[in-house]
Every structure is written in C-alpha cells, then in structure tokens.
Symmetry: C2
Subunit: 375 residues, 2 copies
C-alpha cells in the first residue's frame, strides 16, 4: 500500500492516531476539542460511527408501527450521541417487505422490523414469536419472552440465520374482522371467503371457510365487489384508515386469531457484535421501550377510531357467539398440534408455550380476568 | 485570577483546549488516544462522569422491585460507558422509605424509586400516578400515561417540587388479601380490622370495616394474634415470602384496591438538566424498559408462588362475591369524588382519568375482556 493511499485509508477508517505526524494529530485533536463544548458528542477518534440501515415490513411511516421504528432510530442516535445512525426504509424502498429477513441474514442491511410469523414459511417455529390463535395476550407474551424462557428459544431459533431478535412492539388484541355475512353459528363459516393469513387461515379452513390470500392494497375492492365475504386487518385505528367500514356490514370482535401479536426487531449478529457494549445495551433497552410504547399507543387510539367508525358508518359492532369462539379454539388447538408435530423446533417451543400458558392462565383467573368485569 | 490558578481551574473544569500549550495538548490527546482500544469509554475531557445516588422505598434487594432498581442502574452505567454511576440505597440505608421524596426535592440525592401514592399525604393528586381502587390495570395505565396525557399531568404535578417523574414498573393486579374471616356478603366487612393503607382503607371504612395502620414487619404477628382480621400486601410472590399463608385461612382475589399500581422513578430536575442529552435519553428509555420488565416478572412469578402457597398450606383461595365487589366499587367512586373535590389539582387529573377510563373501558369490552375467557 502506498504511503498516501495508506494515509487516506486510515483517515477514512478513522484510525489516524498512530499513522499521522504530530502536527496532524494536534490539528485532529483541536478539531475534536472544539466539539467538547457540546458534551454529548464523544471523541470521534475513540468512538467510531456506525451508519446502519433498517428495513421494515411496513409501508413508509405506517401509523404506530412504522412511526415507532423512526422514533426508535432517533432515540438510538440521541443515546449514542450520533455514533449509531440508522436510516429507516419502508417496505419496498430498499427491499420488499417479505425479503427483509434474508436481507439482514445476508448482511445487506443491519436491522429489520416486522413480525416473526411472516417467516413461518421457512421457519415454522417462528409463528410462536408473533402470535398464535388463542395464544398469549401482550402482557402474557412479555412474561413468557422475558421471564419464561421464550426469548432464549427465539434467539436459538434465529442464531443459525445469523440474527439476534428483540421483542419490539405489540398491537394488543386485534379485531375479529369485517364481515358482510352475519355469524350466528359455526355453520355460518361454511363456504365463507375470508382474507386471513397464517394459522388463522388454517383454522378458518378447518371450520369450513376458505382462507384467501389478498394483498393489502386490494382488500377494499375485493370486499366491495364480493370477491371476499370478510377480511381481518389490525384494529380500529388501522382499519379506519383502510376504509373497510364503507364496504362491510359487520365489525366482529374479538380477534381470536391474534390476541396480542409481538412485533420484532432483528439485527445481523456480526454487525451487532462489532458494536461496543454501550451501544449494544442501547439497542436492547430501546427495543424493550418500544415493545411497551407501541402497545400503549394502540390501546390509547383504538377506541377513538372504533367510535369514529361507528359514528361515520352504519356498521354493526358484533361479538362472535360463544359457541363459535369455542369451536374456533378447539380447531386452533388441533391446527397447532398438527403444525408443531411436523417440525422438531416447533415442538420444543410448543412445550414451553403450553407449560407457561397453563401457569399464566391460572394466575390470570385470579388477576386480570377476575378484576376486568369491575373496572 | 492568577495564571496558575486559572490553569488549574480550567484543568478541573475540563476546559483545557484554549488555555494550554501545544505540548500539553498533544500529551492530553495522546492520553486519550491510549483509551481508543476500549472503544466504549469516551474521552474523559469531553465527557464528565456523574456519580449519583438513588434511594428507594424498598428494603435493600427487595425481590423484583429493589432488584429492578439495581439492574436499571447497571444498564445506565453500561449505556453511558461509565459516565453515569448510580449507587443504590434500600429504604433506611441513607434515608427512611417515606423521606425519599424530600431527599430528592432537596437535592441531597439525585433519584428515587417508589410509588406515587406514598406522597398523597402532602400531594393528594399523586394517588392517580400510583393506583386508585377499580382504576386502570397496568396496560391501561401505560396507555393513559404515555398517550392519554397522564404523564404530562404527572410532570406538572411534580415540577413545583423540582422533580421529573418517570413510570418505572408495575406490579400488575394485586391480590385482595389474607383473611381470617370469610367474606360472603358486604355485611361480613362490618367491624373487620384490616391492614390496608391509602384509598383502599378509606373504601373499607365506608364499607363498615376499620383500616389499620400496621408496619410491614409487624403484620405477620398481628394477624397471628388476632390484632387484625385481615391484611393486603402485594401478590403471591411477595406474600409467600412474608409467610402469611401460615397464619391466615383465606386468600381472596382480585385486588380491587390495586388493579395495577405503577412504580415511579423520579429525578431531581436540576441534576437531570445538567446531564448531556444522550444520558437524559438513556434515563427516559431505561425507565420505560423497567416499566415493562417489572410487570413481566410479576406476571411470570406470581402463579408459581400461588401454587406453592396452595401446596404448602391449607389456605383456601377464594374470589370476593360479585355483590361485594360491586359495593366496593360504588364506595370507591364515592371516596374518589370526595378526595378529588377537596383538591384542585386532583380534580383536574380526575377529569382526565374519568374521560380516558370511559374510552379505554369501551375498547376493553371488545378486546381484552372479550378474548380473556377463551385464552
């Protein structure tokens, strides 16, 4: 390497100290001294800057979910005093939504934000770290992840892909969906065409319906034209933005198929390990913060939009009959058994899930479930 | 100011750059270069170290609550690369539990961890930021605090005391308490002597009982000797450690008086404002992390200890009858009205609380409450 090239390389890589003359060193040091007045910016010589990219499965600036990723990145930049800068990309801006897993595995980008069940096609066990029908609600999920061994299993599952996962948000209980057919009994599911992905779709099929695969942008028209009889989406806030109340008669609850989906942030393991301890801990801590804040925002906003929907349309808000929910639950348990039996890692996680669920349900009976009717 | 004095002053204050000779500057800069190998430690000239103390209302290393404070302090030290070191003191180690508010107000220490309702004697409105009978559960409380204006009101309430509050933990739904008398109707509360502090005690009094003030260390003996007929404490994990199952016949649920108490961390405002932006954000973020983690740990552990209690004793686990809970709820509402009418700030917060509660209850009916029986 020629001297000048080497110097440029060192300059670029920030490793100037040993290579340059005292004069250059003094000038570099004075440069850095100038920055001392704003205390938060550490010496650039001792603290390399990391320029990262995060890709998400959400459209750019998607309410709550996409916004949280933007805010998370800002927090990390503030906490690291500018040493970790993360540029946020919405779905399709850099890579398509469902390719973010591979993009981070390959190291093309350092981070992603999405939901683990999106990867169930290639890693069946990933479904447990998003949500399963009649599974945990948000509070129970966090208890399992952080103090019931769930997160350790998740880390083990993602390790072969070179990824480190972090729980990073929860939508809370979703709605059951928009229907143009009344559901008074299990028989009403016969032949129903519903846009419902994943395990929920499998349960619907077992209950007599047909799970349809419709892209987000086409759901409204499909519902309007009768191509589908029903669709699920998220909750009142996001559903309102989609305008489903203009083309559906009934809005059913509760979201039996998604009682509290956890959102995930995952990081390329090699990129993570290069970070100094302080920045690693910032990522861990910030993901936990947004794990809670996203849920809080959903909780605060959903009712406001539920009321808007009811005020601005003739949609009828209806609960699934108890008989229907009991059948869906039985069918969900069968589906879960089937899919976990086909995959060793799923089976291992399912055992942890079932054991923790029995414990937390027992506690729930004397806590949340017992007080809830009186709040 | 003499030259030598001025130089010493500048050295001490870290403002060396303009004042010293080039030789000194080079040596200072080389010093700092040596530290480059351990990336996480920022230049000490540009990054002062803060040595803080946090006092708590918990005994030293108190399970979950005290342990979380220790872990929070460690996280902050790691994230700040050693620039914020916080020494943790249990109740009585530096100041008594109920004097931590004044200690931080006066600036004797920088931080504290406790529950806001402890200060209701001097600031009645503080009760809303702990918990009120039949108030919010943990999830609803967070929604109100972060996205319903609650935290802003809390900051406004603590500002005259020179404090910045942060939500920092939640016990989840507590238990209703230990009884040596069966509660089959409201009449069974007549003349009952129960250790139950705060608003819960006022509600008990309105329902015919006598609220007793018994220090933590004396509850067991008081219950054993019949000085009191009943006591509330926290939940199965902490109650088990207290050994109440050895001296009580019945363990009642749910904890109507504390459906989800928020724990608080508060910081002396002047001390907080001196911190650089990055460390301020670390404190904000870490408090949010522990706000969720503490709840998760309670959720995960309570059932294990409830089972231990039932396995190791003859205690009967019993639900308060619905008629009793409805009466306690009516009486709670009356007590809340009375105490808020007597205090302008309480009234202001009560309005925000009541409005948000109506909204979130409505959403709860279609979400958590609707799915809960089927999980």
């Amino acid at each position: 390497m020629k001297k000048q090239h080497r110097r440029n390389f060192l300059k670029k890589s920030g490793l100037v100290a040993g290579a340059l003359s005292t004069a250059t060193l003094v000038s570099a040091c004075t440069e850095s001294s100038k920055e001392k007045s704003s205390i938060a910016i550490p010496n650039i010589l001792s603290n390399p800057t990391f320029e990262w990219r995060i890709v998400t499965t959400w459209p750019p600036n998607f309410p709550v979910l996409g916004e949280a990723v933007v805010q998370l990145s800002k927090d990390l930049e503030v906490m690291s005093a500018g040493r970790l800068k993360i540029k946020v990309y919405g779905a399709g801006e850099l890579v398509p939504a469902f390719e973010v897993f591979d993009a981070v595995t390959q190291g093309a980008v350092q981070m992603a934000h999405g939901v683990a069940y999106y990867w169930a096609g290639k890693i069946p066990a990933a479904m447990f770290f998003g949500v399963v029908p009649f599974g945990f609600n948000a509070q129970q999920m966090n208890a399992w992840l952080y103090y019931g061994g769930g997160l350790k299993l998740w880390e083990e599952l993602y390790a072969p892909f070179g990824l480190v996962p972090f729980p990073c948000g929860n939508t809370g209980v979703q709605m059951g969906g928009w229907f143009n057919r009344e559901i008074n009994s299990v028989e009403d599911f016969q032949g129903i065409k519903m846009r419902i992905p994943g395990l929920g779709g499998k349960v619907l099929a077992k209950t007599g319906g047909t799970a349809m695969n419709v892209a987000g942008g086409e759901i409204y028209t499909s519902l309007e034209r009768g191509v589908i009889d029903a669709t699920e989406w998220i909750g009142p806030y996001h559903d309102y933005i989609m305008g489903f109340h203009k083309v559906a008669k009934y809005y059913y609850y509760p979201g039996w198929h998604e009682p509290g989906p956890t959102l995930e942030m995952f990081v390329n393991k090699k990129a993570f390990e290069v970070l100094p301890d302080d920045i690693q801990e910032m990522i861990r801590t910030a993901s936990a913060k947004y794990n809670m804040l996203v849920l809080s925002e959903f909780e605060a906003k959903n009712n406001l939009y539920l009321q808007k929907i009811l005020d601005e349309s003739n949609v009828q808000l209806k609960a699934f009959p108890s008989e229907v929910l009991n059948t869906l639950k039985k069918n969900s348990e069968e589906v879960l058994q089937e899919v976990t039996e086909a995959d060793a890692f799923s089976k291992k996680i399912y055992e942890s899930f079932v054991k923790f669920k029995a414990q937390i349900n027992s506690w729930n009976n004397t806590s949340e479930k017992a007080i809830s009717p009186y709040l």
